[in-house]
């Protein structure tokens, strides 16, 4: 049970950094709606490398999306979309990292997380919120954007992880 206090420490630090970064990012919106760089995801990607247990990782994602949602307008709306998306994204990142540990870096892990996240958001919006709107067609464009932002986030995360030693 030695791992327990260690993980909680890491989670609380990463979650708080992630939430702060999320707010900072919301202060400076990009010209294109719905597309954000996603710097708040840097701590999540780092978490995938630091935390070895999936449940703690999911806890990190859950805390992040819950608190960000509480302090933003349209709480339920954001929670319904963000909460499951981030958990599924973390699931993908975790197993991808586990399976390809020696042959991949945080860059592709982050890209996978980012692409899965946006795809999940689309699916949830389509299934739950706007049924009568054919906008799955624009998903590929968002995926392309997600590859780019995911790679940037991954690159930053990778540098931080490498500096650590």
């Amino acid at each position: 049970m030695m791992a327990y206090p260690d993980n909680t420490k890491i989670i609380s630090i990463l979650a708080s950094i992630s939430i702060v970064l999320g707010f900072l990012e919301n202060l400076f919106p990009l010209p294109i709606p719905f597309i954000r760089l996603g710097i708040s995801n840097i701590p999540i990607v780092i978490g995938v490398y630091l935390i070895k247990e999936l449940r703690f990782l999911l806890l990190l994602g859950g805390i992040k999306s819950l608190i960000t949602a509480i302090f933003s307008t349209g709480f339920i709306f954001r929670l319904i979309i963000a909460f499951p998306s981030i958990l599924v994204a973390i699931l993908f990142m975790f197993y991808y990292h586990k399976a390809t540990k020696n042959y991949s870096s945080a860059i592709s892990t982050s890209v996978i997380g980012s692409v899965v996240n946006i795809t999940m958001q689309f699916i949830i919006i389509k299934l739950v919120i706007i049924k009568h709107l054919a906008f799955l067609k624009i998903l590929p464009y968002f995926i392309l954007a997600a590859i780019l932002t995911g790679a940037i986030v991954g690159l930053i995360s990778n540098n931080i992880l490498n500096k650590r030693g």
Binding site: V88, L91, F92, Y95, K98, I123, K131, H132, A134
Partner: protein, 315 residues
């Protein structure tokens, strides 16, 4: 645990592509037009039944109409109750158009050769003679019979097709078909949805049938377009279209096309003709009252969207 990864990917793929039902469309000729029925692959076997239902109803309207048209003045004509309801609907459209819409206008329209052709402009004296017969008030409607007070003929082509489509949709519902389209030459009803999404309907451009002027997403709604471009002829520089104003007793080339969204095809069908006979102000106040979105394509090419048409549009 790598199995879990595969499983979640598989689940996402299923959500994305798996639950889409495929639809099939069958065309056939009926009601003097090309009818297209779209149903899901599993309801395909019902198409034949829907088709014979449409043909039966089409024959019914034709026969009952004919009974009235061949009857003499003051003769008691017994017709089916459902047909009485259809005639009364004609009275409703007559009222809301302040008498401009009138099913007895067929009396002079047939002199021009409408609807089948060959077309010609009748002589003034013939027109004057037949014009005096026109008037919905000359048709006395009782519970199960009608009496003609003058020698007119009727045609309910302006909305009977819509009624038949509505009946076909009711038939489909009784066969527990939940999703589909019945499109009778552009008068169509969208039943249910298409894989959770609305049916995508284009409104044809009056001058260029390769273009559309509006794209709609419809669920359980009817849309009908009346235009001046499908049945018409030109003589001595004047365009004679298949829509006639019963008050002026002449052709009414007021717009290029008018499309109406309503809850039933009968309503959308009749209203598209009624609106065609009204001026834009009158259309605005009437569609507001009836809550039926309208798209007007003016003769000069301007497009006007009224009473919430935009709410049904996509892109």
């Amino acid at each position: 645990m790598p199995n879990m990864q595969k499983l979640s990917l598989f689940l996402i793929l299923i959500i994305l592509f798996g639950c889409n039902e495929s639809f099939t469309t069958k065309p056939f000729f009926s009601m003097g037009t090309l009818v297209e029925i779209t149903v899901s692959e599993k309801d395909k076997t019902e198409i034949e039944n829907i088709k014979s239902e449409i043909e039966r109803l089409s024959e019914f309207v034709k026969e009952e109409t004919n009974k009235i048209n061949v009857a003499g003045k003051n003769e008691k004509v017994v017709v089916d109750k459902r047909f009485i309801a259809l005639l009364k609907k004609g009275g409703y459209f007559h009222d809301i158009s302040q008498g401009r819409f009138d099913i007895t206008i067929h009396t002079i329209m047939k002199l021009y050769g409408f609807p089948e052709g060959p077309y010609k402009v009748p002589s003034r004296s013939t027109l004057d003679q037949f014009s005096s017969y026109i008037g919905f008030e000359n048709l006395i409607i009782n519970e199960n019979f009608v009496i003609k007070k003058s020698d007119f003929t009727i045609d309910m082509g302006a909305y009977a097709k819509g009624w038949i489509v509505d009946e076909a949709i009711n038939f489909m519902k009784s066969r527990s078909i939940k999703n589909g389209i019945v499109n009778a030459g552009g008068d169509l009803y969208c039943l249910g949805d298409k894989n959770g999404d609305g049916w995508k309907i284009g409104i044809q451009h009056p001058d260029d049938k390769e273009k559309v002027i509006s794209v709609l997403k419809l669920v359980n709604k009817a849309v009908v377009t009346s235009g001046d471009y499908e049945r018409f002829f030109i003589e001595n520089g004047k365009k004679y279209i298949h829509i006639f104003d019963a008050k002026k007793k002449e052709t009414a080339d007021n717009y290029k096309s008018i499309s109406v969204i309503a809850d039933s095809v009968e309503m959308a069908d009749g209203l598209s003709t009624v609106y065609f006979l009204l001026n834009p102000q009158e259309i605005r106040s009437l569609c507001d009252k009836l809550k039926t979105p309208v798209l007007i394509y003016h003769l000069n090419g301007n497009i006007e969207k009224l009473c919430g048409w935009e709410k049904f549009e996509v892109n």
